[in-house]
């Protein structure tokens, strides 16, 4: 399977050629937005965090910002800090720059305000893009990491779209690709099935620890996960319990051995199937997996959802015919014919697989066309 990609200085291959503005703190987000808006092909992260975090949360924010900037879909980066934020802006900037791609950094307090930072930022990016040399290369699926997500689930997700994506996940792993799935709250009640697929005891143990940590921390916060998950939308869609949602959700990860369990936004190793800790919150979950290195996302939905990602194409798949006809501006692939018994899961899976190849080779997804650049970071501690 031949693919066309963009070679980065660290040897990784991207399937998009984005220039990215990263505000390291919420106070720099408006300025970053304005800098990016001067160019048709520059994107920014709508960061709402970056200050007054406790230790664990700060680590998550750093990993996500660093990971997004390091993602192979990104050709060049401009960091924008305020100057007094608690997040180590200069350290993040230097560690990303060390990997060799063009990276610059501006500090608003040093530049003297929003307007001066915008002007300098625009000039920096213009020069960066002018000097950038495109290195197009031929590659194959072994250089691709695919993130798998489901959101706005209804029963069609569990009985058709997730099995179709599971078929694609298996095919990708067989062809040497890396597949990552997440959403710890949505494997609760199905973990006994997943641990049977763990490659060793350690992976199984880590998965069980994550599930227990997730369940316990929700309970300790006085929250019964059942109160928010299944969500009211899930219940209207016909999902009754968390176990039912989880059993349907794990179908999307296919049937291959589980090679590893990762912390949120941790770099994803190459080859095979991995699980990453994340909440059921779609945007935070997708942001974590893309920060981990995923260059493309396959996202199943039943009720329909528009969200995307600034630097990675998100391919939306539904098996709910009504949702597809009502939200076809948001959804890329309709597999409702599986539910009607007209197509097999394998046939629909092949269709989705071909779509994935087209998207990797440059075809825009609906979320890209509509500039759905949602961004979120999974935090677990109070802000100080």
């Amino acid at each position: 399977m031949k693919l066309k990609g963009f070679l980065r200085p660290n040897g990784k291959i991207g399937f998009r050629n984005h220039f990215l503005v990263v505000p390291t703190v919420i106070c720099a987000t408006r300025t970053a937005e304005e800098i990016a808006s001067n160019f048709p092909n520059v994107v920014y992260l709508h960061n709402q965090h970056g200050c007054n975090h406790m230790k664990d949360d700060e680590k998550k924010v750093v990993n996500v910002l660093k990971g997004m900037a390091s993602n192979p879909n990104v050709a060049g980066v401009l960091f924008v800090g305020l100057g007094c934020e608690t997040i180590p802006t200069m350290k993040i900037f230097e560690s990303v720059r060390a990997a060799g791609k063009p990276v610059e950094c501006l500090i608003i307090q040093e530049e003297g305000g929003t307007l001066k930072t915008i002007e300098k930022g625009v000039r920096i990016l213009q020069r960066m893009m002018e000097q950038y040399e495109i290195k197009e290369v031929e590659t194959d699926l072994s250089s691709v990491t695919v993130a798998i997500e489901c959101g706005g689930s209804d029963t069609t997700s569990g009985i058709a779209s997730n099995p179709v994506v599971g078929y694609v996940a298996d095919r990708l792993v067989d062809l040497g690709a890396t597949v990552v799935f997440s959403e710890t709250t949505e494997i609760i009640g199905a973990e006994h099935l997943l641990i049977k697929r763990a490659v060793n005891e350690e992976v199984a143990k880590k998965l069980l620890e994550l599930v227990s940590r997730c369940e316990q921390s929700a309970l300790a916060g006085g929250e019964d996960i059942r109160g928010v998950n299944p969500t009211p939308g899930n219940i209207t869609g016909g999902l009754t319990t968390l176990e039912e949602k989880s059993l349907g959700a794990i179908y999307k990860a296919g049937t291959k051995p589980l090679k590893g369990v990762l912390e949120y936004a941790e770099p994803i190793p190459t080859g095979g199937l991995y699980f990453m800790d994340s909440p059921g919150h779609d945007v935070e979950s997708v942001s974590g997996m893309v920060a981990g290195g995923a260059q493309v996302v396959i996202f199943t939905t039943g009720r329909g959802t528009p969200t995307g990602c600034a630097i990675a194409p998100v391919i939306k798949v539904t098996a709910n015919a009504k949702t597809y006809s009502r939200m076809s501006d948001n959804i890329d692939v309709d597999v409702s014919d599986v539910l009607e018994g007209k197509t097999t899961i394998q046939q629909a899976g092949e269709r989705l697989f071909q779509k994935l190849i087209e998207v990797l080779n440059g075809k825009l997804t609906k979320s890209e066309m509509l500039r759905h650049h949602e961004f979120g970071i999974y935090l677990t501690q109070p802000t100080l």
Binding site: D154, T155, G189, R226, T240, T241, L242, E244, L247
Partner: protein, 95 residues
């Protein structure tokens, strides 16, 4: 076909179209098909009982327990949050 079951162990099926009270719903389980007379309306994507499920009995879909019946559920009755409760992510649960 009106509904799908996934495993021989399942005691509920999922409606793949809106179904009405009194209807004899055709349920597919792999290649096998059978009918169940519905005692209530069942919306698209929602579930109904394939057999009588006693109060406290497990509700099974995908061949796995998805919760417990909070009342006696009769064959053909609508099965959802009004008569089933999950066992996970709940205060007092011990894993």
């Amino acid at each position: 076909m009106d509904a799908i079951a996934f495993s021989k162990k399942d005691n509920v099926a999922t409606a793949i179209k809106a179904l009405s009270k009194g209807q004899r719903a055709i349920v597919g389980l792999g290649e096998e098909k059978f009918t169940i007379e519905l005692l209530e309306d069942v919306p698209f994507g929602h579930k109904f009982a394939l057999v009588d499920i006693p109060q406290g009995g497990q509700v099974v879909k995908y061949g796995e327990a998805i919760g417990v019946a909070t009342v006696n559920i009769r064959k053909g009755q609508y099965v959802h949050v009004h008569n089933v409760v999950g066992q996970r992510g709940v205060r007092g649960h011990r894993s």
